[in-house]
């Protein structure tokens, strides 16, 4: 990862030796927030600081996530915090913090207080790192199930762990859905009615079926409407299972809309 770093940019130079953290050593650098990166299968972190007299310090963090889908997932955890910039993949910059992913790496470049010169240098460093990484990396195949144009791109969250899902979403009161055994998951907000689409891939078909049965028992009020539940606010939550996958449309405005989107997603599952 050191080879990705420029030696200097516009007067900013490396101000101290880089620091490297592996696995749970991440807690020496940050507190419990390190669990977020571990939940995305974090492997190593390189921290490098740049200084220039009378200017903001520039902090670079390069997270080696082991695989491009992990780096992509990490980026979706934070997506939506700022405007997009053309740095790496899905780059965003706001309030002095640039974040992007490329290949197996997730990258943050930061200054405490923005000024035009420091911001330019920060973006330049980001672009140099992205270029040095070299390969784009693949997005997870599961994203292919999302029909283009139907969802808000900045709301995509890709995850492997329940705790990450809980950061972005909670099921309507009363609905239970076991998440034990999920291998990967995808959450987006639909343009149609701002309802949530949740796709969960379980490691085992039996776990997926068990989750579906639990949903049915705890949420379906009418036997004639299998797989769909009405919330107190009048919206609908629909659930369907195909093999290892469970698909939910939560807080849909109509039952037809919910069934339609689940049918579409079901046909596109990898």
């Amino acid at each position: 990862m050191r080879t990705f770093l420029p030696v200097s940019v516009d007067g900013w130079t490396i101000s101290e030796p880089p620091r490297l953290y592996s696995g749970k050593e991440i807690f020496e650098y940050m507190d419990g927030a390190g669990e977020v990166y571990l939940a995305y299968r974090f492997e190593r972190l390189l921290v490098q600081r740049y200084a220039r007299p009378d200017q903001e310090e520039i902090l670079v963090e390069i997270f080696d996530m082991g695989a491009s889908q992990n780096a992509f997932g990490t980026s979706t955890y934070m997506r939506g915090r700022g405007p997009g910039v053309r740095v790496g993949r899905d780059g965003e910059f706001k309030n002095g913090l640039l974040c992007f992913w490329r290949g197996r790496y997730y990258v943050c470049v930061k200054i405490e207080r923005e000024n035009p010169r420091a911001t330019r240098a920060l973006l330049t460093i980001g672009k140099m790192i992205a270029k040095a990484i070299g390969v784009d990396g693949e997005r997870p195949r599961l994203l292919g199930c999302l029909p283009a144009g139907a969802y808000q791109p900045k709301t995509v969250r890709y995850f492997f762990r329940e705790e990450i899902l809980n950061t972005h979403f909670s099921l309507p009161e009363g609905i239970l859905l076991p998440l034990k055994g999920i291998a990967e998951g995808l959450l987006v907000r639909l343009k149609r009615d701002r309802s949530h689409l949740l796709v969960l891939v379980y490691s085992d078909v039996a776990d997926a079926e068990s989750a579906y049965q639990t949903f049915s028992k705890t949420s379906v009020q009418d036997d004639s409407m299998a797989g769909i539940s009405r919330s107190q606010n009048g919206t609908w939550t629909a659930c369907e299972r195909i093999n290892h996958c469970l698909m939910l449309n939560v807080d849909a405005s109509t039952t037809k809309g919910a069934h339609d989107i689940l049918a579409t997603v079901g046909r596109r599952l990898p």
Partner: protein, 295 residues
């Protein structure tokens, strides 16, 4: 809320009852009722934080003194601080040094000064965060004071009084499972249990949301100008959480509960018995600036 509009006079009446109960004059039922509720002082000042985000030392000192006087039902701040610590105490002040939103230095210095003014030897007072386990003063501490800012946290929902003691564990990651649900257990560790005399949850510029796990985004912090002060860390966190959630509703313009849910606060009461999280049993005593208090 049992009594959301509680005034200073109401509080004194309540604590007066407590004093009588302690003397054994009132029936047992009265004691039970007192024990089943807890008091939290919320004090705010419109000008405690300047435009550049720095705390005004003089105002902050006044707020702290007034709040502690109320918490300890004392006539003067001096009397109150003499109830927080006694000259023979060895005092560890647990702070939080996260550089983006740290415990204000002005507050740290005021706490140290007040403890020394109460008669504790300067050699027997120390402020520390990450080094507390190897700090000689903390190692022989007879009293602890806990002070940190309230902020949204990517893994535990919020970081408040309860979470601030995670550095008392030789292995903090042991407390991370299930979104840090067992943070309350920290307060039953041998080096902690029964030692905390005062908790201060700093609500000067709390952070109500975070997207980047360990980065601070000023977009998600606001000037609230408050301190929550009390003896019960669980109650302080519970009240702080309500304020944060109210701010989230205003900002996001929809119901926006804390995510991940800060379940360690309720668990601290129900599972670990270290305080009261049930808002029905928490009496909030409001002092100072009332506008936009969000609770």
């Amino acid at each position: 809320m049992k009594n959301p509009g509680m005034t200073r006079r109401d509080f004194l009446r309540t604590t007066g009852v407590a004093a009588i109960a302690a003397s054994g004059v009132v029936p047992l039922l009265g004691q039970e009722e007192v024990r089943k509720s807890t008091n939290v002082v919320l004090i705010r000042h419109r000008s405690v934080v300047s435009g550049n985000g720095v705390a005004d030392r003089r105002i902050l000192e006044g707020m702290l003194d007034e709040a502690v006087t109320m918490v300890f039902n004392a006539a003067t701040p001096q009397e109150a601080w003499s109830r927080v610590v006694v000259p023979s105490d060895v005092v560890g002040i647990k702070t939080n040094v996260w550089r983006s939103l740290r415990t204000p230095i002005e507050l740290e210095e005021t706490l140290t000064n007040r403890v020394i003014a109460a008669g504790v030897s300067p050699e027997d007072v120390s402020i520390d965060d990450r080094g507390i386990l190897s700090n000689p003063v903390f190692q022989r501490a007879t009293a602890l004071i806990n002070a940190r800012p309230m902020r949204a946290h990517a893994w535990s929902g919020v970081g408040g009084c309860l979470k601030n003691y995670i550095m008392f564990s030789p292995s903090p990651p042991d407390f991370h499972p299930d979104s840090c649900v067992d943070l309350g257990a920290l307060w039953n560790l041998p080096n902690v249990k029964g030692k905390t005399r005062l908790n201060i949850l700093v609500m000067l510029t709390p952070q109500f949301h975070c997207l980047a796990p360990h980065h601070f985004d000023k977009e998600y912090a606001w000037t609230y100008g408050g301190l929550l002060v009390g003896k019960d860390p669980v109650a302080l966190d519970a009240v702080g959480l309500k304020i944060i959630e109210a701010k989230r509703r205003l900002y996001f313009k929809e119901d926006a509960p804390m995510r991940p849910p800060a379940k360690h606060i309720a668990a601290a009461e129900k599972k670990h018995g270290v305080g009261i999280a049930d808002m029905q049993k928490i009496n909030i005593i409001r002092l100072g600036w009332k506008e936009d208090s969000l609770i």
